[in-house]
Amino acid sequence: MGNSSAEDAVSDLELFERTSRGDEDAFVEIVERYKDHLYNFLRRMVSDSVEAEDLLQQTLFKVYRKSLDHSRIRNFSSWIFTVAANLARDELRRRARVDKKTHSLDEQDVEWTRDRKGTPVEKAAQSELRDRIERAVSSLDEIYRMVFILRDIEGMSYEEIASILNIRIGTVKSRLNRARLRLQERLEPYVKEVFRT
C-alpha cells in the first residue's frame, strides 16, 4: 500500500507525524499515496461516485484531525482503511434506514488497468462477466462485501483485513469463503454459460 513503493522513502507514520506539526506538504503526500486505493474501496462499497468522493474527503479530513494522536497509531495503512471502512459502514446503514434500494454502479470514470487479451468474443464475455460481478458484489451483505473487496479486489493480506475490520483472521477467511460462494450462487447461470462458449 502506501509503504510498498520504492519511491516512498519517507514512511507513512513519519509523514503523519509531520502532518501533526502542521506540515501541509506531508499531508498532501499521504493523500497522494492513498487516495486511489481508498476511493476504489469506497466506490465499490457504496456503489456511488459522488458518495464515494464525499466519504474519501471525510476519511482524509478525519486522518488530518487525528494526526495530533499520531503516537497511538502503529499501522497507518490499516488505520486509514479502518477510518474509511467505518465511514462506509455508517453510510450504508444510514442508507438502509432511508432507502432499502440497492444503488447500481455508475459507469463513469472507470479506468481499466489490465490489457484485455483474447478474441473479440472472449473480450466481450470477459467484459460482461466483470459487469455482472460488479453488480453481484454490490448486492452482497456489507460484512461479506467489505472482506471480498479488500481481499479479492484490493489484494490485501488476511492480517491487514483482520486489523482493519478488527476481527480475527479466521473470521476473515470464513467471511471471504461465504462471500465467494454467494457470488457464485448469483452468477452461476451466467458463469456456466461462459464455460460452454
Binding site: D36, N40, R43, E53, Q57, F61, R130, F148, V191, K192
Partner: protein, 172 residues
Amino acid sequence: MRCSKCVLLYTQWKDGELSARSGAELREHLAACDACRSLYARLDRIVDVSSSLPRFSAPGAVADKVIARIRSCETVPARFSRWLTPRLAYGALAMVVAAALTFAFFYQPGRRPGVLVAGADTKERIYSLGPAVESTELVVDEPDYSLNHAPSSEDVIYSLPSLPVAARPASF
C-alpha cells in the same frame, strides 16, 4: 469427503493452507464429484476476474478540497475569536465603569441606602430611591383597630408595595 465440507474448504485450498491429509481428501473428492469440480472452477473464474476488475481513480484535486475544508474549519473559530475577544473585553470594562458611576451618583456618606429617616416635622425621606419623597405619599392605609374584629389581610392595603420600607403614621 462430503460435498458440504468440500464447499467450505475452497478458500483454504486456494491459499494452499490445507494440510497434506485434507488436501489429499479434497483432491480425491474433486476427482470423483462433477458438481464440486464445476463449483471450484466457477469460483476460480470469479476470483480471477475479480482481481482484474477496473480500478476507479479518485477525482482530481481531492487534496486541495480536503485542505480547503480543513482551513475553513480552522479559520472560522480563529476568526470568530479574534472578533469576539476584544469586544467581550470592552463590553465587560464598560459594564464595570457604568456600575461604578451609578454607585458614585447615588451614594451619600453616613446614610445607608434604603433607610427611612424621620425628620422633626414628621417629614420623611427615603434615600437611595432618587429624589426626596414626602412621607405623606408613603403612609399606608392602616387597619381600623376601633372595630372589634381580628385584623385580616383585607385590612392592610399597601399603597406602594414596591417600596422596601413603609412609613409609619405619626399617630400610631
